[in-house]
Homo-oligomer: 418 residues x 4
């Protein structure tokens, strides 16, 4: 049986993370780097596409080829770039759906008249079909890496069911953002979809249900790479030892475009919202003094630094402190996760697993859940479920074995609480 060939279409192909993915895959193909940082490098699995067999394409608002983008983000040094320049220069993003008025970027697709959402979706599907045909891959996956969109109220009626959503699409409903259109195009095209950003995308009831009906695996959202990863690794142990968290002060400094974007209070709000909830969920009580800050700090560039201070109370009321200083690199932590998410979504599709793939929660700050289920945030349990899924076991507590019955019960009890 020939090894699987996978095509990954990325929303936001010119960004720092996507270009790191692209550069990394080419370097791997060249044999110029080892597989450090790829969580599944040591987990060969017949159904996972080999790293060498992944083709990359995608959309961006800027038309620069990937070699230019790599240079711009400083992902590779000059000597490294030389090794893979030809391959990267050959990749130019397709024009993205604009994020201001939800229409195609004119510069990119001259003359096209894509004013309706239906036209936009059709155009995205054309891109995907052409990519599949041209690249000769066995199958596709779409991963969202574009800039964070504004917060959206996911409980609006037009997002509640596939039928309502279809009607809203017909009406070019202004509440539908670009990230939803990409998800819709992928899902209805039978293509697995992962959302690595905090934007509201497939995480509305309508699209989750559509994914279930089409048998398309989806996963998200907001990649868990730095401080939040550490938080969800440490907090379970504090709970295990009954060390009471009196306060957790977290600050981040980073100097890349992400950091600049988060200087905008609106984007920051959604980011902080995502980050804030994990702690209470893991510890089982409300941490009164959980503070999270992100500051744009240009000297760091793509390097990112997190400083955490944790105030603890232990036996006999004694106070202790833990401080964690993580000097990391944003894109370097994110890119390999993007690659593994794509490979796993493709594996799920081969296995016939449609709908929300909760078992990929280990990769996300806000794990996408079947409606009514509460996300697991503790890294140890997430990792165990993920590895069990990978091994083909149904892990306890995941939808594989949850009956319709118990799901309804969970939903009902949640409704009661609210």
């Amino acid at each position: 049986m020939p090894a699987r060939r996978l095509g990954v279409a990325i929303v936001g192909l010119g960004g720092a993370v996507a270009t790191t993915v692209a550069a990394g895959l080419e370097m791997i193909r060249r044999g110029a780097v080892d597989l450090s940082g790829l969580p599944l490098a040591d987990a060969p699995h017949a159904g996972l596409a080999p790293y060498q067999n992944i083709s990359l394409a995608g959309w961006d608002l800027y038309p620069d080829d990937l070699a230019s983008a790599v240079r711009q983000h400083g992902v590779l040094g000059p000597a490294e770039l030389d090794l893979v320049r030809t391959e990267l220069e050959a990749v130019r993003p397709w024009p993205a759906i604009g994020n201001v008025k939800f229409c195609r970027n004119i510069a990119g697709r001259e003359g096209a008249n894509l004013t309706s959402m239906r036209d936009q979706v059709a155009s995205l599907k054309d891109d995907l079909n052409r990519f599949k045909a041209d690249s000769g891959v066995d199958d596709l996956v779409v991963v969202h890496l574009a800039s964070t969109e504004r917060l959206v109220d996911t409980t609006l009626p037009q997002f509640a069911t596939p039928e309502a959503f279809e009607m809203a699409l017909d009406a070019d409903d202004p509440e539908i953002g670009p990230a939803m259109l990409y998800a819709y195009a992928a899902i209805t095209g039978g293509i697995p979809y992962g959302n690595f950003t905090p934007s509201v995308s497939a995480d509305i009831p309508a699209l989750k249900e559509l994914a279930r009906r089409h048998g398309v695996p989806i996963a998200g959202k907001d990649g868990k790479t730095g401080q939040t990863l550490v938080k969800t690794v440490i907090a379970p142990a504090l709970r295990g030892r009954s060390l009471k968290v009196d306060g957790w002060y977290s600050t981040n400094i980073l100097g890349n475009r992400d950091g600049l974007a988060l200087d905008d209070p609106n984007s920051l709000a959604s980011k902080l919202d995502t980050k804030g909830s994990v702690l209470d969920s893991i510890l089982g009580y409300k941490v009164e003094n959980h503070k999270v800050f992100i500051h744009y700090y240009p000297p760091r560039g793509d390097d990112k630094e997190a400083w955490d201070n944790i105030d603890l109370t232990g036996f006999l009321g004694h106070r202790m402190q833990m401080k964690i200083n993580f000097l990391c690199k944003d894109s370097i932590l994110a890119a390999p996760l993007v690659i593994e998410i794509a490979r796993c979504l493709d594996l799920a599709k081969q296995r016939g697993q449609g709908g929300v793939l909760e078992e990929l929660g280990v990769f996300f700050k806000a794990p996408l859940m079947v409606n009514g289920a509460e996300p697991e945030h503790a890294w140890p349990e997430q990792e165990r479920r993920f590895r069990a899924w990978l091994d083909g076991e149904g892990a306890p507590g995941t939808p594989t074995e949850r009956s319709e019955q118990s799901l309804k019960a969970a939903a009902a009890s949640l409704a009661d609480v609210r």
Copy 2:
């Protein structure tokens, strides 16, 4: 059914950890403190003795009553001590077995002529029987908290089987240390035994086998409280994310008697030995630059500070660093674990589980294993196994379900490797 009453006999009753246990239990009985720091406070279990029902006694080389010891170690402030002084003054240690020539401390037991090991063991059993009778508890547990003894070669022939050990005892073999005598007295007296220190005690084949034959649960060794706990919490996540550990530099500063003892290169050697191995075991490869230091630093007293620096390589060979600074308190972290270990050993006995109780590995730096089995060091997996055991489930990978067959296979393959 009346709540269970448990007697805990501690080796090293006058030390900082033991006095913190004693003071804490009295404060809890008084309702003067909450249950912070006790891992099983929220896990009520019919078979676990309530904290209020635990009686304390034990041995020490110094005859001071517990109120004096509490004052000396600064465990309680004056106002707190006032609340429980009467109860603590009533507890005086029994004279301990000397650690120099392995004979009873004369000052403590005047006129006694306990020169043979058999006499010493008999005397320890007398102490335990008297404690049980006087206190009216349902059952006893022994926990070892005395100062670290010198390294012992556990592969000596006299430690290989119960029969060889009995003969060595008859001969007052100088390789048998006091910690082994306490363990032997407990096990052959049908009393569960836990070793919270790095000393060689029940972790020799002869005593493990004796525990199995007598149906007595045993556990150990070397309580996992501070830096090593954090290490075994973080390292699994680094492995999960395939972040390669290029180096891990750990230093500890502490100012209590423990710190002073570890200024002695011999004691330090055994301590570092225990600390060093956990990382390679979790990560699955040899960390070339794993360095661990412990320094006596009087300004800290019982407060302990750990500083860790971890050098990581991620995707595309990029370098990152994580630094962890844990400002903790040695006895405050250790004492609640001692209490829970005692309660769990007692629960195991009620359940009829004899021999090495591997499921308590979560509490130890060097988990005591059935002969031939490799210890699990990763905290997440240890915690999962422990909680599953507590819930009465046989967790996969623990001896409950391991067949004789597979154990022999494991032992055989290990023998091959060595």
Copy 3:
């Protein structure tokens, strides 16, 4: 010659810093503590009032006696408080000038009709005269420790000259805040005045000139205790070694009333304003990425934690980082400075030095300067000037030796620049 006796009247007597001053002085009088933390403990000087000879009084909006205040702020433990309770209970604040509508707190001074600023000033002077008479001290000093007031534009015409200010007082000008009234009452009463807060007080041209005319020494403002102290200690060395500061990220967490107040963006603004300028002044260039944050974080109480990250560029453009984590106590650092400032102001008065006492700049984040002069922020130079002044030498660069001529030249060139 009998040792000098000094009375210190504090604005904000019930606050954390003032009560620490009060408790500390009583403990010193009792011989219950040593002189740790008092910068001049080892600098006996005939003119400095001995610590034992300092009497304390002052104003506050709350009428609680000092024993209550000490208990409330947790300055002393119960046993310590017992030693000095009688003395502290005897001190009750005089009613303060209200900070809302600039009138006396009615509850405190029943029946008084102090609606005009002139009446308020007269009343403050009465308080001071009565204090001096009752306590029998040789002389008085006033130190401002009350909560930070709103920002005031110091360049308003009514603040430009004594004459303009007097007219504004007559007119109950709403731009005149309480902190100015205290300063005015002290200065015109011939009493030295120090401002330990960021509020605008004696730092307007009118009051500086009045102080010069009355021969009254004044000093300020905003005590330099924690992070800013460290910053002004480190930065001169970075300049000395030509290590370029690319960015300096500073964050503070503290949980006392000060921290809560600074959660108010207005108060924070003035605080940050003070903190921000020191770095550029010392380094001689504009640090593009100097960020300072203060966060209210209740778990810390009066303990304060500062975390600084400094990004540096050295030889051949190589990048380096320094991180400083200061776990300190706000009031414990501030109180001894308040005591020394009072003693030094009193010494200056004895020496006949009126007007701005620039040599005390070492104690302040925003050193009060003679009009037109630029403050020195580098701690080493501040300390040198201060010690030289104490020794009675005229230090180069301080007003003692600056001629009228050069001052005018400085003012002129400044005017040119602006």
Copy 4:
């Protein structure tokens, strides 16, 4: 008047610091880097040789040219090295005096028969004369950067006077190490000499006196770059604020050849000896718990990390902590100091200042002093004296203004004490 041209002969030309000096000077000449990290870049002074006018040569045990050495130490990236490769390839070290049996490295100087110290010195002088003649510089300076030698007892009689030392030289006294021979050759050749290493070199009474007689400025020893610099910057402020240092725990990790050498307990001993004394000297009392560790930690390469923890007691006995984490680069901090030391020694010679140049103490961990004088370790005072000297002022407390009389008195009182 044409700008001054200076030749610098370095002992240990192939080491990391020396190659950084060489690469840096070439890059500056090329205009490829700015002057970051050079303390006197902003202090143009007629007598200081411009950076562009410095020629480099020197001795090493290894014969590799400087381009090879730069590549080996990773000082420059490939693209940068390309810019200056031709110039660096042209510089080959002269063969150094061997450090084992104190004879010339045979491989380097085939056929030479330099068994006597007198011959070795003559040969060193030949090297220097040839360098001066060939390079056409105005004058020379020698700077010592070779590996640390074993500790030497500086109070031996043969080191006490020039006469005794000359006799010892004649006798090939085995107590005379290579570092002394280099110093002797320079001093008697009228060439200023600086020692940047901890080795005993010009810091014996005989050579100091010789330098005075020959009117040759000398300076040393042991460059103050990282942790010790920070310590001498912070400690004066702690003293200024009367914050009592209860303990200071310092650890260093570094992975270059220096780190490896310091894994040797003998070399470490002399290093720690130098580092230890500065604190007590600055604070004015003995810090009981001052601990300094240096660990070889290969992941860091030439990068160096220092972690300091300082325990402080302040007002009313309250405890505080400061922690400093300095992520720096050894050679990058050292190289610019070497350049400035050379320029300043040359300036001193032009000014006619012979003997120990104490004013350069700011650059050294163990400032070389006129016999009988105590070194100043506090960075602020060192910096002030240095800048004053540079400006041509005689700073108080430096030898310029100390009379013979007072020096003798100091020496006498020291003799009394000992």
